[in-house]
Amino acid sequence: MKNVNDLPKKSLMSLQVDLSKFMPATEEEKRQQDVMSESTTFFRDGMKKLFHNPLAMISIVVLLLIIITIVVAPMIVPYGYSEIISVGGERDKGAKNLRPFEWSEAEQEYIAAGNELFPHIMGTDALCRDYFIRVIYGTRVSLSIGFFASIIVLIIGLIYGSISGYVGGRTDLIMMRIVDIIYSLPDMLMIILLSVVLDPLLSGLTSGPLQTLGTNMISIFVVFGLLYWVTMARLVRGQILSIKENEYILAARAVGAKPGRIIRKHIIPNIVSIIIITTALEIPTAIFTESFLSFVGLGVQAPMPSLGSLANAAREGLNSYPFKLVFPAVTICLIVLAFNLIGDGLRDSFDPKLRR
């Protein structure tokens, strides 16, 4: 630092600071300038909050465990989801409605003869199929329906909402009227109706890998694509409209930023968290819808199980075999609960409007 006396003499009326009026800072005052914590980004800050949310973390762990189980279990369990149990190459007619970890007579003889068999962890169903592997495949089907349905909703809603919000004017007005009408349709009734209609229509069209999925599953996706995107579109449009009005967008435009840069740097980072949260909360809705459709008999195609169709099938003979309802029902509850809690956790940590 320059000595006070080295400076040229301050002339009258000049704005030059008069250093003789300043004091050196004390050690305590200097410490106020220390950086107390690292600089952080919005994303990192949100993640830190999420990691400190025990419910969300437990939910993530539970979901990961479920996903690992449904990936690994079919490799270990030697039964197929539609395979009727056979012992030593012969169909085992006694392996019907076994309780968890129970053996049929034929299997007991087979084991007594010195052979090894894989236990029926959740017993078997009325058609002599291993119930554990059916629940595993059911979870696969339900989770993938939830996942893909919410992706479809995300893509359609995002594109529609951004066009409507960014273009504005008359286009926006017309696009939003369409959304209003679709929004006021009773979704569940329309889904049932469309599933009934699409089922025979699609059965003629599909072939190859689509055939194994079953027409009902495709109609679930079609229906989601047709009806459920409106909430997402409204949300995206509303967000874009309110962000567009902000001063920093005006400032960016004033310094000459191109629309591409404004969308990339200002709009997307501001809406991405809300979109992720809504998508996470869309997955349980899709799983619920699928289980509901399975209940009314419009779910996935027969040998293929879903959690909803398993729970529904378990209603017959419920008094004697309540465990057959319990396993798929608990799995649905766990998955839906986990996604709800993760969604809530994400909202608490990433939605800036909720920060207090």
Partner: protein, 303 residues
């Protein structure tokens, strides 16, 4: 105000029209006519039947004929048993309406009660218990809950008689139907109650010595209930679709179970009639709720 109401009524009519159009054309898109039975009828009979039900005319004309009948309350006859759909709806709707209204009252009353308790005892054990239970119930599909209730209380314990013509106990179906909306209202009330308890007018009321009970009921709760009113619309939709499941599980002969059996039997006129009817109920309910909502909250402007 009048302008807003007229606009909303027109919207509602347009929606019902669109629903009936979708339903009608969707039904006509299904391959096979209503008289394609397993035992083939002779062509002359089919022709006569087609003429009887106007099926020989172009689809668009059929649609307008259907609309004309629909306005008069005539929804055709069931393809399975030949009974008039209007009569079936007339028989079964009162049961469903009773069940639905009871479930709504239970959900709203207990939801607000539990939500307020949770907000007023924030971070104490009643709050934790209420929030834990309500979070749990938002994750249980209604048919699972209904089946479990039926298994435990009717079959295993024998406390409640199974539904029949002679014993009509609404308690289990109402519980099964109201749990999810109740859990949702509880969470909604808690957060909006916490919000309004933190407002300046509540602090002012407290500071000037208004009794605590009066602050809660007159200042905090009244404002906290506005978001709850907005949920009544979606709740009506939930109760109507939920009743499809709950009525089937409890074998209640309401409109919901008629709809589900219509689907299982592929009874298209039945599906059509019930879809349009339920959709009309839903749209009307939403219309009334929207208007009431604007009436009770003076801050909302009519545009």
């Amino acid at each position: 105000m009048t302008k807003y109401v007229i606009k909303r009524v027109i919207m509602a009519i347009v929606t019902i029209f669109i629903i009936s159009a979708i339903t009608f054309f969707a039904m006509n898109a299904i391959p096979g006519g209503p008289f394609n039975r397993e035992k083939a009828l002779d062509p002359a009979t089919i022709e006569a039947l087609n003429a009887r039900y106007n099926l020989d005319k172009p689809v668009l004309q059929q649609f307008f004929i259907y609309l004309g009948h629909f306005i008069k309350g005539d929804l055709g006859v069931s393809l399975k048993n030949g009974r008039s759909i209007s009569a079936i709806i007339g028989d079964s709707f009162p049961i469903s309406a009773k069940l639905g209204l009871m479930a709504m009252v239970v959900a709203i009353f207990f939801g607000i009660l539990l939500g307020s308790i949770a907000a007023l005892m924030r971070n104490k054990w009643p709050d934790r218990v209420v929030i834990f239970v309500s979070t749990l119930f938002t994750a249980v599909p209604s048919f699972v809950l209904a089946t479990l209730l039926l298994l435990i209380f009717s079959i295993q314990l024998g406390w409640v008689r199974v539904w029949s013509a002679s014993s009509q106990s609404y308690i289990l179906p109402v519980i099964a139907l109201s749990m999810y909306p109740m859990a949702y209202i509880t969470r909604l009330t808690k957060s909006s109650m916490l919000d309004s308890l933190g407002q300046d007018y509540v602090r002012t009321a407290r500071a000037k010595g208004v009794a605590s009970r009066k602050v809660i009921f007159k200042h905090a709760l009244r404002n906290a209930l506005i978001p709850v009113v907005t949920y009544v619309g979606p709740m009506t939709a939930y109760i109507i679709t939920g009743s499809l499941v709950v009525e089937t599980v409890f074998t209640i002969g309401g409109l919901g179970s008629k709809f589900v059996t219509g689907i299982t039997n592929r009874d298209y006129t039945m599906i059509m009639g019930t879809t349009i009817f339920l959709a009309a109920v839903m749209v009307t309910a939403n219309l009334i709720i929207d208007i009431v909502y604007k009436l009770i909250d003076p801050r909302i402007t009519f545009d």
